[in-house]
């Protein structure tokens, strides 16, 4: 197990390095630097700015210092656009927000999705099953940016129950719509996955044995079916997690929640390269970390897997 984790980490490090180098090279190759603006700056000013941010150094040196600061001090460098703010400040402001609604969306998507899948599988080929399945098919194809306006239309414009956007320190009324918009698609796909994996497990021999020895049905499901049926869900949680972060871009845009997605889009529109790079790297690192955790959990739960 230990060697497995080490091996996975060894893959993770070059992945991050490739991401850094690739982004840095792109940044360098891109036409129009971060200091291009409508007002033409004098050449000396540009030179001074470039010297201040180290852009006059050779490319390999820029990449090296970036990696060095990142690894040694966890320092993403200064923002190219806001001279009094570092990338760390900007991330520290947006990330907790994303973490809060991402956390709730993740929990709700997992619990509701699994529950719906179990119910559908137990009531296989009944009206309940078909209802769950059709809702799941509809939900799985609706991206967040389609659900978000529909939610606002209903909850804010028609009913006037919820505010149309804002954050207010995660008061629940501001959390409801972002969480629904972010989790709906995943509830649907988890439900479908859970249903089919439950059905497969319910047909297996050990379930027949469990029933034959006279266990009550709920015990069969809780003791024998649940665990093997949950395995495919577990490996799907990695993509769900990534989706929560990518989805935050839409959530922040539409509900003005001010999470990490907003920092990213703002920096993209401002050509604030260092912030874009920082956010991309952070998301990449988190993705790798999360996939690692999922893999390790998988190895713990599934005795068939040997690393």
């Amino acid at each position: 197990m230990f060697s497995f984790i080490t091996r996975r980490l060894l893959v993770a490090v070059p992945t991050l390095l490739i991401l850094i180098v690739l982004s840095a090279v792109l940044m360098h190759a891109a036409p129009g630097g971060p200091f291009n603006s409508e007002r033409k700056l004098p050449a000396e000013v540009v030179a001074n700015l470039q010297a201040k941010y180290g852009l006059d150094q050779p490319l390999w040196w820029q990449i090296w210092t970036y990696i060095r600061d990142l690894v040694l001090h966890f320092d993403f460098g200064p923002s190219f656009k806001y001279k009094d703010r570092t990338v760390n400040d900007i991330i520290a402001q947006g990330f907790p927000v994303t973490l809060i609604y991402g956390f709730w969306s993740f929990i709700i998507a997992t619990i509701l999705g699994i529950a719906a899948g179990i119910v559908a599988a137990i009531r296989h080929n009944t009206a309940t099953d078909y209802a769950v399945l059709s809702v799941a098919i509809i939900g799985a194809a609706l991206p967040g940016f389609v659900i978000a306006p529909i939610l606002v239309l209903f909850f804010t414009l028609q009913m006037g129950w919820l505010p149309g956007g804002g954050w207010e320190n995660a008061e629940w009324r501001y959390l409801v719509m972002p969480v629904i918009a972010l989790s709906t698609g995943y509830i649907a796909s988890i439900a479908r996955l859970m249903r089919s994996s439950m059905l497969e497990t319910l047909n297996s021999n050990f379930v027949r044995t469990a029933r034959a020895k006279g266990l009550p049905e709920w015990k069969v499901i809780v003791r024998h079916v649940m665990k093997p049926a949950l395995l495919p869900i577990l490996s799907y949680l990695g993509p769900v997690f990534v989706g929560m972060i990518t989805g935050s871009v839409v959530i922040d845009m539409y509900f003005s929640t001010g999470g990490i997605g907003k920092s990213f889009v703002d920096s993209a529109l401002n050509r604030d390269y260092s912030v874009m790079l920082g956010v991309t790297l952070l998301v990449g690192a988190l993705t790798i970390l999360f996939n690692l955790i999922v893999d390790v959990l998988y190895a713990f739960i599934d005795p068939k897997i040997r690393y």
Binding site: L26, F145, L269
Partner: protein, 312 residues
């Protein structure tokens, strides 16, 4: 699918003289596909959407750039859909005709879907087939590269590319296509590995056909079933990715638009309109978008059932 139909046609011509008609894989598949009502209906939806996107602008009395000065500034009271004004889908806040804009946006979305998918399919198929067929260390290295690439958050990288190199159609096509061949490569590799020990491959190798030729002439054609299924499922993903980027305002540039950009504008406008929510600005692009997505999913599902019977 064109080659598939041709091949099915050729085979049936050959077997016409025989007493018992043989059925090719594709004829079988077609028979199964036709039984799937949702899939067949979806094919018609897609044909309708394609017609709308191609000929919609020709039908519309307004172009997608023209501004109706009667409506400008008061879209919420005068811009609603009506036959008389010629704005069948209403207008946006700037007084531009939404029928023409939706038709044009649908075209862009479909184009991104097809071109992006085409790039992904070509790259993914060749990469996966080579990796699976050659095997050994080459396979290990190629697959490790895929592993590394799939750990990168692509939506972010794509936005990075678009911002740095300008928002051109070319960049969107290539970006989306280049970033989504990974899944294709994995699936094709798996299939190739199971194909490569078949007798006809061994026969080809024994008669001295070069590796590259075996891959292109014998492996790739036999992968078509899997590739076709995966392709139909990839197109909606591409459309979704493009719409996602356009929703953020980083996609195609005005006066061109896409379904994602229209949904974005519509959803912002319903919040701002003072007198009466301009719902039509959201509904029409939204309905087209969702209908297209579902149609592709159902067709993909139907094709999977038709071409891959063991999966049922």
């Amino acid at each position: 699918m064109v080659t598939a139909d041709l091949r099915a046609g050729d085979l049936s011509r050959i077997t016409d003289n025989a007493e018992i008609k043989g059925r090719s894989l594709w004829a079988d598949a077609r028979a199964r596909f036709v039984l799937n009502k949702a899939a067949v209906a979806s094919v018609f939806v897609l044909i309708f959407v394609a017609f709308f996107s191609i000929f919609g602008e020709a039908v519309a009395p307004w172009t997608n750039e023209e501004i109706d000065f009667n409506v400008i500034g008061s879209a919420d009271t005068k811009g609603m859909p009506s036959i008389e004004t010629g704005h069948y889908f209403g207008t946006d806040d700037l007084g531009r005709d939404l029928f023409a804009r939706t038709a044009q946006g649908t075209r862009i979305s479909l184009m991104v879907g097809f071109v992006g998918t085409f790039i992904a399919v070509v790259v993914g198929t060749v990469y996966g087939a080579v990796s699976g067929y050659v095997g050994g260390r080459t396979d290990a290295v190629l697959m490790r590269i895929v592993d590394i690439l799939s750990a990168i958050p692509f939506m972010f990288v794509l936005i990075l590319l678009l911002v740095m190199f300008g928002r051109s159609m070319f960049m969107i096509f290539v970006g989306i296509g280049m970033l989504s061949w990974l899944g294709m490569a994995r699936i094709v590799r798996g299939q190739t590995m199971s194909l490569k020990h078949k007798e006809y491959i061994e026969a080809a190798r024994a008669s001295g056909v070069s590796t590259w030729k075996i891959i292109l002439r014998h492996i790739v054609p036999n992968l078509m079933g899997v590739v076709v299924v995966y392709t139909t499922l990839l197109i909606p993903d591409m459309i979704m990715a493009e719409s996602f980027i356009s929703f953020l305002g980083l996609g195609v540039q005005e006066p061109l638009t896409s379904l994602g950009a229209l949904i974005s504008e519509g959803s912002k406008s319903i919040l701002q309109s003072s007198i009466q929510p301009t719902l039509w600005q959201l509904y029409f692009p939204l309905i087209l978008f969702v209908a297209t997505l579902y149609a592709f999913y159902f067709v993909g599902d139907g094709l999977r059932d038709a071409l891959d019977p063991k999966d049922r």
